[in-house]
């Protein structure tokens, strides 16, 4: 396949036709902005219409180009109305360009980097420009999207700087991956999430750790714009990878003629702000325990070049120390991008290299194991302060070893927090290399061919050193060492033929192409284990492992290859009606060879109402509709996994999952309609849409009766529906010469329903699929027919008619009144997902001052504070336990008695207690972002081109919040553990200063 692409590329290069023209002369001129104070515009593209010849203006707005008499010169620049001038006798052509009001003519980057005019889109796409991302800086740029794109829900992980982000577009549908595809300059990125927590305990092999994600490794300053393609119609060309929507990132590149240096520096300080309601003593201990986090992000970029070759170079670094003591992050990113044109612009070559290294010490964990917050929240030693235990070890003369100090016996989940931070410390090292090459041949003015290739490697390593005298459930007597390396590579290649043709009033824009993607994952895991142990205490190396089957070593190699061909065509009728068709066929190595090919089409139509009819004040109006099907394969080694060899332990005991019958590709069908309008000189507009998506035939792994001789079978089944409504409205209420206020409102409601879990014809009928397994604790999430994705289940207290808890024989009685919503003793108590989300984003400019703020609201949904349950189970540190009011309870016979709050919550609390007592509404409205900036007026002679300083604030306060924690923070950016806080790091409030210099 790769070879085929190479041959094809070589073949096409032979087809390039040297064009010969006579009687050319050199035209030169200056391009400026229109208005009272025209300024020279650098970087304006100048082309000779109908040819491939082009130039760009330099720093002073000057250009030169070869053209003949009668040729038409076209001048274009993003954000300005293009201008064209016919070459006359004069050799000088000066142009003044006007700011474009009609941004509707914008070209948007769509799937595979294919550019389309915005008005021809038959689906919803929303753009965010670089400013929006860098105004209030986040270490992970995706965090900045919250509230700014309708239908997109961001849940940040609780693991601090360098943590991953859960992005959900139009609801969850899959038991596998629900995250969108990230595409940088047309090339899909591999997004290894490095493992996500699934269990309430947290992984005993290192705590519930967040493996981070790829976006945290990208420098936000390199991003020029970001486009969100929400539905399957938009992303059908990406195939299964784009099933959950696509986030397209366009990075900056050099511009001809100008040399520009940008420098930006951000400093943010953050404090733990939103956690459970503790008593004064515990509160002051916690305040002492948490640090003020400091994040500094510095980036510098330089760009410039000649007409034929442009360079963009950037370097950035991030140094962050978290609110958790000892947690810090260091990150360095370099990005080089070269663009060159050859043969009079017939061949454009683009090459870029991105390299990142990231080191994170003590990335915060969630869940119960290895979590310092358990000890910190539950510290209640009379007469002592938590800080007395900052000195976390003391000499044990019997062993001649420094051993853990704590005010009481440690337990599996509770240790001295300072001991965990210093003697159970972890280090994550992540490196990423992304090298890509793109060649584009312009064969004629209507035909071009491009071919691209990428090598994308992520290398993730994790090292955890657990010292002797750590609690025995977590480590044996001599300590424990965990070492894990993951090498994840993706090689991507494609070739695409682009056709743009106009036949009278009919326009055709079409593409055909082929891609191949090969993913390889190599994992090495070594863990001396909870039973195996180390030979010598506190020596952390693999050679120090005890030679017994209690230690684990494993290597995993997985590979997946997907080949595809695709085609798309957009036919325009008089620029008023557009019809869009796409088709794609994939062949995937992860499906059985008998069934590894799957085809899927999409069709869309849009009509520009404002051009078809003449409607008064309407600047622009269109309607759109589209339908798409997208096929999906399964992860590598899912269908026929082999039995595993266990180090020193023979074979894994269970027969691996086996398909029950034939395995089919999964499928998603989606339909959407929408309309977009702009009025009153573009001061008001809206875009509303409706969608419905059915995800059917997912490959479920289904537990079967133990007596069947196997534990799980694989079966294609289910139908999960997401249906929703999205609206974005913009309005410019005030616009004068010195004052402008722009306001954007984004609204989205998604309704998820599990229509079917089993098809009636399936050999195995199931009632539910587990999303978060309860284990021996009392939080779970299940997919149940008639329920919704994200339903949360808890152990609920039985109550009498007056709502009094039933307590019998010294124990609270489990509610048995709702059996149809109860699975294995846990009752449905809510859903982790919001009913609707509303973001209100404002930008106010007065002369040189601008004020931006974002109010982000989510309405509906529930969340459980297992943190509070744990604290009430292990101590009396919550405020209500300290107040210790009397609580009336009844026994089964109806006799009333009272318990103190300490007694009652002592019974209700704990990880496996009555989690139903800890359910809160997840509704919250916050002032998410605030930025006040000043643009310094600089004289013409200034060394600097631009200086801007701003004061920024993040997550400043809640207008409304019910839960003790921030419900938008999620323990996992996978599917599990949504709607529960289990000792996640508290959400923070941050303030900072942002300085941008360009010269």
């Amino acid at each position: 396949m790769k070879k085929t692409i190479l041959i094809f590329s070589a073949f096409l290069s032979l087809l390039i036709i040297q064009q010969v023209k006579a009687q050319e002369k050199t035209i030169s001129g200056t391009v400026t902005s229109k208005g009272e104070n025209p300024v020279p515009l650098p970087g304006v593209n100048v082309i000779v219409k109908g040819t491939t010849k082009g130039a760009q203006t330099d720093f002073d707005g000057k250009y030169t180009i070869e053209a003949s008499l009668g040729d038409v010169l076209e001048f274009s620049y993003v954000g300005l109305t293009s201008a064209s001038v016919t070459v006359g006798t004069s050799n000088t052509v000066d142009v003044a360009m006007e700011e474009s009001l009609e941004q509707l003519e914008d070209v948007v980057v769509t799937a595979l980097g294919i550019q389309k005019s915005r008005k021809s889109l038959t689906y919803a796409a929303q753009d965010i420009n670089a400013d929006e991302l860098s105004k209030v800086r986040q270490t992970n740029p995706v965090n900045s999207l919250s509230g700014k794109v309708s239908g997109l829900v961001i849940n940040r992980s609780s693991s601090g700087a360098g943590g991953s982000v859960k992005v959900t577009l139009r609801g969850n549908s899959s038991l596998g991956n629900n995250q969108p595809l990230y595409v940088v300059d047309g090339i899909p990125l591999s997004n290894p999430t490095g493992g996500q927590p699934i269990d309430t305990f947290g992984d005993i092999n290192g705590g519930n750790k967040d493996g981070g994600d790829v976006l945290a490794l990208i420098n936000p300053d390199d991003i020029e714009s970001l486009t969100v393609l929400k539905g399957a119609s938009a992303s059908a060309l990406y195939g299964s990878a784009g099933l959950n929507g696509v986030i397209l990132i366009t990075t900056k590149k050099g511009r001809a003629g100008s040399f520009k240096v940008d420098f930006s520096s951000n400093v943010l300080v953050e404090d733990a702000a939103y956690y459970i309601d503790l008593n004064d003593n515990a509160e002051s201990n916690i305040e002492d325990f948490f640090n003020t986090g400091v994040t500094s992000i510095t980036s510098v970029s330089a760009s410039g070049g000649t007409e034929n070759a442009q360079t963009y170079f950037s370097y950035s670094n991030t140094f962050a120390s978290g609110i958790l003591p000892t947690n810090d992050l260091k990150q360095h990113t370099i990005n080089i991008r070269e663009t060159a044109t050859f043969f009079d612009g017939a061949l454009t070559a683009n090459a870029s290299v991105l390299a990142t290294t990231q080191t994170i010490d003590n990335r915060p964990v969630s869940g119960l194991y290895f979590n310092p917050l358990v000890g910190a929240y539950n510290f209640d030693s009379p007469g002592e302060r938590l800080s007395d235990y900052e000195n976390f070890e003391q000499l044990d003369p019997d062993r001649n070893i420094q051993s853990q100090r704590w005010f009481r016996a440690t337990s599996d989940i509770e240790q001295n927090p300072y001991w965990i931070l210093n003697r159970n410390a972890s280090e994550d090292m992540n490196r990423k290399l992304l090298a890509s090459m793109n060649l584009k041949f312009r064969i004629s003015d209507w035909l071009s061919v491009q071919t691209r290739g990428t090598y994308d490697q992520s290398f993730l390593s994790y090292d955890k050193q657990v010292f002797a005298t750590t609690e025995a459930t977590l480590a044996p007597a001599n300590g424990r060492y965990i070492f894990n390396e993951q090498d994840i590579r993706q090689i991507y290649g494609d070739v695409i033929v682009n056709i743009n043709k106009q036949y009278n009033k009919i326009s055709l824009s079409a593409n055909v192409g082929a891609t191949t993607t090969r993913n390889t994952v190599e994992i090495l895991n070594a863990d001396s284990g909870t039973n195996g142990g180390l030979q010598f205490a506190n020596v952390f190396s693999i050679q120090n492992f005890n030679a017994n089957p209690g230690v684990s070593f494993s290597q995993t190699s997985l590979e997946k290859k997907v080949n595809s061909i695709f085609g798309s065509a957009t036919v325009g009728f008089d620029e008023k009606v557009f019809i869009d068709l796409t088709a794609r066929n994939d062949w995937s190595s992860s499906l059985p060879s008998s069934n590894n090919s799957y085809f899927y089409p999409s069709v869309g139509v849009t009509g520009i109402i404002s051009e078809i009819f003449d409607i008064g004040d309407v600047l622009f109006g269109k309607i759109r509709a589209s339908y798409a099907e997208v096929g999906n394969d399964v992860p590598a080694n899912t269908v026929f996994p082999e039995r595993q060899i266990l180090f020193g332990g023979g074979l894994s005991p269970l027969d691996p999952v086996r398909p029950l019958g034939e395995v089919r590709p999964e499928q998603q069908e989606s339909f959407e309609i929408g309309t977009e309008w702009r009025f009153f000189q573009d001061r008001f507009g809206f875009d509303v849409g409706y969608y419905r998506t059915n995800t059917i035939d997912q490959y479920f792994q289904v537990a079967v009766s133990t007596g069947a001789g196997s534990v799980t079978v694989g079966v294609n089944s289910g139908d999960i529906v997401n249906e929703g409504f999205e609206a974005s409205v913009f309005v410019v209420p005030v616009q004068t010469e010195n004052f402008k206020w722009t306001s954007n409102i984004n609204f989205a409601a998604n309704d998820n329903e599990v229509e079917k879990i089993s098809n009636p014809s399936d050999e195995v009928q199931i009632d539910n699929q587990v999303i978060s397994p309860p284990g021996v604790n009392t939080f779970a999430s299940y997919l149940v027919e008639g329920g919704s994705y994200g339903d949360i289940y808890a152990q609920v207290v039985k109550r009498d008619a007056d709502g009094r808890p039933v307590v019998e024989g010294g124990a609270i009685v489990i509610n048995d009144q709702n059996p149809e919503n109860t699975i294995a003793g846990l009752e449905k108590v809510g859903n982790a997902n919001p009913d609707f989300a509303l973001g209100w984003n404002n930008s106010i400019t007065y002369k040189n001052i601008n004020i931006d703020f974002l109010i982000d609201g989510r309405f509906g949904g529930e969340t459980i504070s297992m943190t509070e349950a744990i604290v009430e189970g292990l101590s009396n540190n919550t405020a209500r336990e300290t107040e210790n009011a009397a609580i009336e309870v009844v026994n089964e016979a109806g006799e009333v008695s009272t318990l103190t709050a300490q007694e009652y919550y002592g019974l209700a609390g704990g990880r496996n207690g009555f989690t139903g007592e800890y359910v809160y509404s997840a509704t919250n409205i916050r002032l998410a972002e605030l930025a006040v900036g000043y643009n310094f007026k600089l004289s013409e002679s200034s060394f600097f081109r631009n200086i801007k300083a701003s004061l920024i604030g993040n997550n400043l306060f809640f207008f409304y919040k019910d839960a003790p924690h921030d419900p938008n923070v999620s323990l996992s950016t996978g599917n599990a553990l949504q709607g529960v806080d289990i000792l996640g790091l508290p959400s923070t409030r941050s303030w900072g200063l942002n300085i941008n210099l360009s010269f």
């Binding site: 073949f11 016996a409 337990s411 035909l447 025995a472 459930t473 033929v497 082929a514 039973n531 017994n548 089957p549 209690g550 995993t556 190699s557 997985l558 080949n563 595809s564 062949w587 995937s588 190595s589 060879s593 590894n596 090919s597 590598a636 026929f640 996994p641 082999e642 060899i645 023979g650 074979l651 005991p653 537990a703 079967v704 009766s705 133990t706 007596g707 069947a708 001789g709 196997s710 079978v713 050999e763 195995v764 021996v776 024989g809 010294g810 124990a811 609270i812 009685v813 699975i823 294995a824 003793g825 189970g873 292990l874 009396n876 089964e892 002592g906 019974l907 704990g910 496996n912 207690g913």
Partner: protein, 530 residues
């Protein structure tokens, strides 16, 4: 325009090339080459050989210890009166207070099914015709594991295991026991016919490939199962028991022949006891061993720190006691009671001792089975053999002691837990006593000798009512379990209720009572033992 056609034509040619190559070369990619394929597994017959180790190590699960903790330690090991958890898990609302935690019970079921039953099925398919002796040993291990499961739940999936891809049909406990007998009979016959085959030596974690020992063990196991059903089905019991008692190879009679699994890892209870501090001596053990001044107490337990120098057990079924706000505070006090001693927590996991076999024979003698010898001789030999197992002297004085009785229990931390001894049974054999009293003596001594294997001890307690172990302090079963009769079984597990509801409904029918912890199993017949 001609150029255009050429380009389009070339394009079509190229795309048809791509199309034809798209599906090629994808077949061999999927899979993890670091794992093992069926073909690789067949080298050295490991497709069979590698299956035995997990069977040996999961009858009584070696690792991970937390899984064993749920499989047996917080269940049968506590119900048997051997041990107690110092921490009142789930604020005291857990299995030990009869407030059953369904998430725990799954392990009792899934561990043997996943590791023993599955493997036995594969071994049966691969060896029954060609290497029957390998099949025979696997059948003995299978019965060893599955009678324990049946003794917890009653009906189990046994004869119809693996017949459907997704669901399964249960056998009644009677059907299961009959199948155990016929499987053991077949295995004993096969091994007798292939007594010199060396094939199992490499895989044997118990007897080094010696089939004579395996036959003795199989006979002893059959005797155990026969005694178990002696009340409910005396005819079958006598017939099966006498087969063992009169078999030319005999039953286990020396400590060297006892059935242990020689594991390579620490005893799981050692981790739970020493490292986690999650299990301690039970008050019933203290009452009987200390009351009898039994020297085995030093082999089984360490003296406590709570009452310096004395052995101290904890009452089972403790709720979150008054005065404690949380589990850990209560544990902090009870962790200082007597630990289990390292002597009983070696990597050799004890499943059947010679002493137990003598006590089985003693009971068989009481029941008049041929080949059993006399009850008294077997009883006394049982005690002597148990003393020898721990290299203890003084058994002759002990055997003749007709004065000492179990002692009253005193909780040094929470006096409300104090309780008077429930029995006045003495040690010395009294030939003039009633059969019932003789049986109490036999079972009480068998109970001491079988420590720390709580599963068999709990089964025998339910069958006979002996020894008289203390009831739970807190009974949170909501009236389902009678405090004095104590817990009779564990309900069918959630994983089965969810994946096999029709099978479980049928199993409840076969159980003959409600699917709860108060329902008696088939062999658990109320009333006197004779």
């Amino acid at each position: 325009m001609k150029n255009t056609s050429n380009i389009l034509l070339s394009g079509i040619v190229v795309f048809s090339m791509i199309f034809s190559s798209c599906s090629e070369g994808l077949d061999d990619i999927d899979g993890n080459p670091r794992n093992i394929t069926q073909e690789q597994l067949e080298v050295d017959f490991q497709n069979v050989g590698s299956l035995y180790k997990p069977m040996f190590e999961n009858i009584y699960q070696y690792t991970p210890p937390w899984s064993f903790q749920l499989q047996q330690n917080l269940n049968a090991d506590v119900f048997s009166g051997y041990m107690t958890n110092p921490r009142p898990f789930v604020a005291g609302a857990n299995n030990t207070t009869y407030n059953l935690v369904s998430g725990w019970n799954n392990f009792i079921w899934s561990v043997p099914y996943s590791n023993v039953m599955n493997n036995a099925k594969t071994i049966e398919n691969e060896t029954k015709d060609e290497f029957p002796e390998l099949f025979a040993v696997s059948q003995i291990l299978k019965v060893t594991a599955m009678h324990r499961v049946s003794d917890v739940f009653g009906p189990i999936v046994y004869t119809k295991f693996g017949e459907s891809a997704t669901t399964s049909e249960y056998d009644s406990q009677q059907e299961a026991y009959n199948a155990f007998f016929s499987d053991l009979e077949e295995a004993i016959q096969i091994l007798s016919d292939n007594i010199d085959s060396p094939r199992f030596t490499a895989f044997d974690l118990s007897y080094g490939g010696n089939y004579e020992n395996w036959i003795k063990y199989a006979n002893a196991l059959r005797l155990r199962l026969a005694i178990r059903i002696s009340k409910v089905d005396p005819t079958t019991a006598k017939m099966e028991g006498e087969k063992s008692l009169n078999h030319p190879n005999g039953v286990i009679e020396t400590n060297a022949d006892s059935f242990f699994v020689n594991g390579t890892l620490d005893h799981p209870v050692k981790t739970i006891n020493n490292s986690w501090g999650d299990i301690r001596m039970n008050a019933s053990m203290e009452s009987i061993l200390v009351g009898y001044e039994d020297p085995r107490v030093d082999s089984y337990f360490d003296s406590s720190e709570v009452t310096e120098g004395e052995f101290k057990g904890i009452r089972n079924g403790l709720s979150l006691l008054p005065g404690y706000d949380d589990e850990l505070a209560q544990k902090a006090d009870y962790i200082d009671f007597s630990l289990l001693a390292d002597d009983v927590l070696t990597p050799r996991v004890q499943l059947m001792t010679a002493a137990e076999v003598f006590f089985l024979k003693a009971e068989a003698a009481l029941r008049g089975w041929s080949g059993a010898g006399t009850a008294q001789a077997n009883y006394e030999q049982g005690i002597t053999t148990s003393f020898q197992q721990y290299s203890l002297g003084g058994s002759s004085d002990y055997i003749t002691n007709a004065i000492l009785t179990p002692k009253d229990y005193v909780d040094p931390v929470t006096p409300t837990n104090n309780i008077a001894a429930l029995s006045t049974i003495t040690i010395a054999w009294d030939e003039a006593a009633t059969n019932e009293e003789k049986l109490e003596r036999i079972i009480t001594q068998k109970w001491i000798a079988m420590f720390p294997e709580g599963q068999e001890a709990w089964s025998e307690y339910r069958r006979t009512g002996y020894p008289k172990i203390f009831p739970v302090v807190s009974n949170q079963s909501g009236g389902v379990v009678d405090t004095d009769l104590q817990i009779r079984r564990i309900p069918f597990v959630d994983s089965e209720l969810q994946t096999n509801p029709d099978g479980v409904a049928d199993a409840v029918n076969k159980l003959g009572g409600s699917d709860n912890a108060g329902t008696r199993l088939w062999w658990d017949v109320p009333g006197g033992n004779f």
